[in-house]
């Protein structure tokens, strides 16, 4: 393996800018890596060899012309629910299997303008609905740390790509945990900024009041570099926030002196068993050792997050996915009348999880049920956001697990609700719109497994406090270095 592929985004950009290595050499090394391992990992639905080489050559030309490129030559994996002009954009769904995007998402466009090289489009749970990538209609993605286990989801293709050194930055989208959980499962930093910080233009919508794009990276510095490039107002997204972005990369810290970190009373880690309880308690002690003051905080309605989310997200999904009707894009199954054409197209095009969510959302919005389900969930959302507001009067950031377990084996969560439970710790922050990330915090060998699997600590901060959040995560990462303890054994896995 060419050592270039192991480097982080910051390291690569510095090397390419200084002339130590050309962007084209980085692209060739990473594409070679994809060719060598991706038949076993399955991170990419559509590798983009030609486009990647063309972009790399362009980056080398732009550097010669004197352009300053913060992410010069950084190999980028793009979740396949983000549009890139001229590339197949599938949402891992049969309904969009052959659809070619006619424009590029703002977040992707900003990364490419900053010098990134698009390596390919990555697998996901169909329309980003799931926590394991198993709901993809187009491919199987395996966890590079144990191929018998899932990479997490829904951004599991991007997390697997970065973990297997098939990219330095993976773009994900997070609606209820879809960046943070795969980040935790793949030994990465998975960062969801404040709702509205990064434009959703060109991100195919799932639940519009929750969806947020963010990076999956092998270190906090790389997450900050990606955030600094992508964050900021975009007139093409009416919900993007029009206020200045303070760059996070220059504010990465080495200490947590003066920081009050809230430990959530309701998130008692003893429920996770003694081994995980010990790992999370150690993580809290490590924060304290870095100078943080630990504060007991309460989120009394957080326990209702899952129920709230599984009304609001499906309701929004049933509305957003109405556009897939066999007329303007994607699949059509012909029929004599238009009603039958819609029904057959959507029956053939959507997988079971997408159908379930459309049905539950349609039910929750239907006449007679709207107040009992949808409006009540929106009110619960107010209560959950209020809990966080009160907690942040007593602390500057909150620490808790990113997920209740390490990556599980395929087909382990066949009951839909048991899969939904994987987002128990990440959903409350999504409902409140807060910036949150997962950062590696330890390893466990799950029952029945033989390989050590990573665990993630979730850190969460008030709205727009991304600098503080990334700064704190950096200090924790630097002092603990959990991510470096194990290499993904993907090389050793037999074909």
């Amino acid at each position: 393996m060419n050592e270039l592929v192991r480097r982080g985004a910051g390291e690569i950009a510095r090397a390419v800018r200084s002339g130590e290595v050309r962007a084209r050499e980085v692209a060739d090394a990473v594409l070679e890596r994809v060719d060598a391992v991706d038949d076993r990992v399955g991170a990419y639905l559509t590798p983009l060899h030609e486009l990647a080489r063309a972009h790399a050559d362009r980056v080398d030309r732009r550097l010669r012309d004197g352009e300053a490129l913060p992410l010069a030559g950084v190999p980028l994996a793009i979740k396949d629910n983000m549009c890139v002009t001229g590339t197949r954009t599938t949402c891992a769904s049969k309904i969009l299997e052959d659809w070619v995007a006619p424009y590029t998402a703002t977040a992707v466009a900003r990364m490419l303008a900053a010098g990134c090289i698009p390596i390919g489009k990555t697998n996901l749970d169909e329309f980003a609905m799931g926590s394991s990538c198993e709901n993809s209609a187009l491919g199987v993605t395996r966890n590079p740390y144990d191929p018998s286990r899932v990479p997490g989801g829904s951004s599991g293709g991007s997390s697997a790509a970065v973990a297997a050194c098939e990219a330095a930055i993976g773009l994900g989208s997070d609606t209820g945990g879809s960046i943070r959980e795969p980040g935790a499962f793949c030994n990465l930093v998975g960062f969801k900024p404040t709702y509205g910080r990064i434009s959703r233009y060109g991100l195919i919508a799932f639940a519009s009041s929750l969806d947020q794009i963010g990076p999956l990276t092998r270190c906090v510095e790389d997450a900050a570099l990606a955030y600094d490039v992508m964050a900021g107002y975009d007139p093409m997204d009416a919900t993007s926030i029009d206020r200045p972005v303070e760059p996070a990369a220059p504010a990465l810290r080495e200490s947590l002196e003066g920081l009050r970190v809230g430990i959530v009373r309701e998130f008692d880690t003893q429920k996770l068993g003694s081994e995980l309880d010990g790992i999370y308690r150690q993580a809290y002690r490590d924060l304290q050792a870095l100078g943080a003051e630990l504060v007991d905080v309460a989120l009394p309605t957080a326990d209702y997050g899952l129920a709230t989310y599984y009304l609001i997200a499906p309701a929004e999904c049933s509305s957003n996915l109405a556009r897939f009707d066999g007329v303007r894009y994607g699949l059509r199954v012909d029929a004599d009348d238009v009603q039958a054409m819609y029904e057959r197209t959507r029956a053939a095009g959507f997988g079971p999880e997408v159908k379930r969510r459309i049905l539950i959302g349609t039910h929750a919005l239907s006449s007679g049920y709207y107040d009992a389900y949808y409006v009540r969930a929106q009110k619960a959302r107010t209560l959950i956001a209020g809990d966080f507001e009160r907690a942040f009067e007593r602390c500057d950031a909150i620490a808790c697990p990113a997920a209740s377990q390490a990556a599980f084996t395929f087909n382990a969560k066949s009951d839909p609700y048991s899969m939904y439970m994987m987002d128990y710790y990440t959903i409350p922050m999504s409902l409140a719109g807060l910036p949150a990330l997962s950062v590696p915090c330890g390893w466990t060998t799950p029952p029945g497994g033989t390989l050590p699997m990573p665990l993630g600590l979730q850190l969460c901060a008030p709205l727009f406090a991304e600098r503080l959040l990334l700064g704190a995560a950096h200090a924790y990462e630097r002092s603990t270095q959990h991510a470096r303890r194990h290499e993904p054994p993907v090389e050793a896995v037999s074909r």
Binding site: P102, L306, V338, I360, H363, V375, L463
Partner: protein, 96 residues
Amino acid sequence: MSSDTIDVRYVAKLARIALTDEEVERFGAQLADLLAHVDALAELDTNAVAATAQVVESRNVFRSDDPAPCLDRETVLSGAPQRQGGFFRVPRIIAE
């Protein structure tokens, strides 16, 4: 809150998804299970609580109504499953 069993055939009609009998049965059971879980929200006292649609900076967004470049017709139609000339082609909607 109502925990009526969900009428899957009716909801599928509203959602424009044709379901097989097997799907009606399977989804019916799964969705009833999920609704039983979300019924927990009835425990919360939400009478005096305002509904939240969007958490960050709720405001109306206007833009000036000026012509600007957009995708050209050929590009847009190239993604359509069926077209006729410069139009999307659909089955007959209005009966003769």
